[in-house]
């Protein structure tokens, strides 16, 4: 679909333009908005969403989805607190908790690949299961009093820059992910699986293995995000990150990754994550109530999936010179 990029503004460009617009507008509206401290805070606030958005992008490109990420985050947060309370050292806790993240991802991946179950159904199930386990581990109590040198890691910035450590790590991971997705054969395979799974399989791509690895990566990143979340807020709770998966999916879709798989770029997702962060920050600075924020998020989600569709419908009717027919979504070429 070469003419996608031609004649029409690319989706990623539109999101980036919107990002700049919000930034400039925000700086005009709120005097406190565009200073280093506030931006650093706004970035830090995105830590977990940004980290989890990377593997989620790969999954959605592949035509899969993982709704259990926020529950894995909660479970790993609860475990971090519980182990810390039991007198373990943070250095021991981190690898243990990451292993739990791997196991969570493995369960998702095995159910999807071995039994051929739809990932939506599987991860709705594991989302409930992992969140339940988080409550089993910690109940409704909160564990605090983590040592300062660890919480500082999650809250302070890289010396000389306004970039918090978790975001610096995200930047590194984002570069790796972008290279993998857009410059390697593996990335090409992901697009192939997303646009036509059977064809990819018959072309010799190891569909099941790739899916399994993606779910494991998603699990381990969500587990790591659980540790970051715990240290950033200095509090481990079973309901940490409740509903976060929706924000992540909103960011991925807003970034122009097609929910049917096989389309999109990581750059768009990164722009979308930043856009959501800035919007949230702006709304917060201007004391906009949480209910309005919820409405804004919802509308953003709907608009982000609606706009490309409408563009497609308009283009279709132009090409055909007639009304839009209820065509099946055409699989996009991954070029």
């Amino acid at each position: 679909m070469k003419f996608d990029a031609r004649g029409l503004i690319r989706w990623e460009t539109a999101v980036t333009a919107l990002l700049v617009l919000v930034f400039v507008g925000g700086a005009g509206v709120s005097p406190d908005f565009a200073n280093g401290d506030n931006l650093s805070f706004a970035l830090g606030d995105l830590s977990e969403i940004a980290l989890i958005a990377l593997p989620m992008t790969l999954l959605v490109v592949c035509g899969q989805v993982d709704l259990s990420v926020a529950s894995v985050l909660g479970l790993c947060s609860a475990l971090t607190g519980w182990l810390w309370n039991a007198g373990w050292a943070i250095e021991t806790i981190i690898p243990l908790v990451l292993v739990v993240g791997v196991v969570c991802g493995l369960i998702n991946g095995l159910l999807v690949t071995r039994l051929g179950l739809p990932s939506l159904a599987v991860t709705i199930g594991t989302m409930t299961l992992y969140r339940g386990l988080a409550y089993v581990v910690l109940g409704t109590e909160a564990i605090a009093q983590f040592p300062q040198r660890y919480t500082d890691l999650a809250t302070t910035s890289v010396p000389g820059t306004p970039i918090p450590y978790p975001i610096a790590l995200f930047a590194l991971l984002a570069i790796v992910t972008a290279v993998v997705l857009h410059a390697t054969g593996l990335g090409r395979s992901l697009f192939a699986i997303g646009s036509q799974e059977d064809a990819a399989y018959f072309a010799g791509i190891r569909v099941k293995r790739i899916k399994l690895v993606l779910f494991v990566v998603s699990g381990v990143v969500a587990g790591f995000a659980g540790i970051v979340f715990t240290l950033r807020y200095g509090s481990a709770r079973a309901d940490n990150g409740l509903g976060l998966e929706l924000t992540v999916i909103a960011a991925v879709l807003l970034g122009g990754i097609d929910f049917d798989g096989g389309k999109g770029t990581l750059g768009g997702v990164i722009a979308a994550v930043l856009l959501i962060g800035l919007l949230r920050n702006l709304l917060m600075l201007n004391d906009v109530s949480t209910e309005i924020q919820s409405i804004v998020t919802g509308l953003l989600l709907i608009v982000s999936v609606l706009t490309p569709r409408l563009i497609a419908v308009v283009r279709e009717s132009r090409a055909k010179g007639g009304g839009a027919r209820p065509a099946s979504p055409a699989p996009a070429a991954s070029s």
Binding site: L117, A121, V122, T128, V136, E291, R309, L310
Partner: protein
């Protein structure tokens, strides 16, 4: 795939093999039976452990609590069968419960007016979802997530931190939630009537069967002339209207309503539907199974309380049940498909021996059984791509 090499001839015209239909029917019915069985085992075991579990009050509470969930599950089934999903139902229940509560509080309004208002709000929400999904062809999961946020926001905005309390409500509204007809409370009666009505429609009307056709194979349904948009829109409308009704019943049953009433219920509803044997990829399942699923989940909750199990286990158990349900469904579908394939192979073999080659292997299988057979056949083939 040697079959492809042969010249296809017309499939033999004969009575469709009832064996296939029977097998599939049995598997599908076995689903409702197995949930009912699980329910019985659960209730018996709990009663042995604690005889007070089966007191009249205990049973009534379970049914009352299950009624609202089952009502939502019935509406959700309409949507899920068409290979869509409606995540906004929980927020609709919350919004309707609050708005109708505010509408009725401090007045002696007729309860029918209150119900009507609830149905209207629900229908409006369903209409928005339905239009977005069916006419704009955007993924249902994303749209209904979006509307969930929006409706929740509106709910909180309207509520402004207030709450409705039972003492403000007219007695006619509270009577709806707590009185009984011939000793049976209204709530389960309403739910059962709705369930039977929708169940009958989906099973016995050709337009009802079309819902299954859409979920089973949208492309084939389109080519067969099924009005997909209209059906999907009406599925969302029904789901919305039932969520509205559930909201009024919520108000009538609990009397006290805070802004985040029914928060997070969408996942409970989807869980009930999936446990009840409605395939999330569409085309398979009944409203009866979904209602039984709701009853099972509610009963588990009560059992945990009675057995003094840490209530924190409830979510984990629900999650395991969900995973079990979808895994068992999948394995059964695979088995059915294998059996059908083996049958058609052996038939083909016989025909070949009689000297008339027939390249219509799956055609035999899918032609005979109900829509579900085609669904089961389509679902195997290793083609487990999510189309949400």
């Amino acid at each position: 795939m040697t079959v492809l090499a042969e010249t296809p001839t017309k499939p033999p015209s004969g009575p469709p093999s009832t064996g296939n239909g029977r097998l599939v029917d049995l598997v599908l019915r076995a689903r409702e039976l197995s949930i009912a069985g699980a329910l019985v085992v659960l209730v018996v075991a709990t009663t042995i452990a604690n005889p007070r579990f089966l007191s009249a009050q205990g049973v009534e509470d379970i049914f009352l609590n299950a009624s609202i969930l089952a009502l939502l599950a019935v509406g959700q089934t309409m949507v899920v069968v068409t290979r869509n999903i409606d995540l906004s139902v929980g927020s609709v229940v919350g919004l309707v419960a609050f708005v109708t509560g505010k509408f009725a509080a401090g007045t002696d309004r007729n309860v029918l007016l209150v119900i009507l208002l609830g149905l209207l709000i629900g229908a409006l929400c369903g209409l928005v979802n339905g239009l977005l999904v069916s006419f704009c062809r955007v993924p249902a999961l994303v749209v209904t997530l979006g509307t969930l946020y929006v409706i929740q926001g509106i709910d909180h905005y309207v509520a402004h931190g207030e709450q409705i309390s039972a003492s403000d409500l007219p007695s006619s509204v509270l009577a709806l939630g707590n009185d009984a007809l011939l000793g049976i409370p209204y709530l389960p009666i309403i739910t059962v009537v709705v369930m039977l009505g929708i169940g009958f429609y989906l099973r016995s009307y050709s337009s009802g069967r079309e819902f299954y056709a859409i979920g089973s194979n949208p492309e084939a349904a389109r080519l067969a002339g099924v009005p997909i948009r209209r059906r999907v829109l009406s599925a969302y409308l029904v789901s919305g209207v039932l969520a509205g009704l559930a909201g009024v019943l919520w108000l009538a049953r609990f009397g006290t309503v805070v802004a985040d009433a029914a928060n997070g219920w969408e996942l409970k509803v989807v869980s009930a539907v999936v446990v009840g044997g409605v395939a999330i990829v569409g085309g398979v399942g009944t409203v009866y199974g979904a209602a039984l699923g709701a009853l099972l989940l509610t009963t588990i909750g009560s059992v945990l309380v009675v057995l003094k199990v840490n209530p924190f286990w409830q979510d984990a158990i629900t999650g395991v049940l969900l995973l079990l349900a979808i895994s068992v469904d999948r394995l059964l579908a695979l088995r059915v498909t294998r059996t059908l394939k083996a049958k058609s192979r052996s038939r083909r073999g016989r025909r070949r021996a009689n000297g008339n080659g027939n390249g219509n292997g799956a055609g035999d299988a899918a032609g005979g059984g109900p829509a579900a057979t085609a669904a089961a056949t389509a679902k195997e083939e290793g083609n487990a791509r999510d189309e949400v």
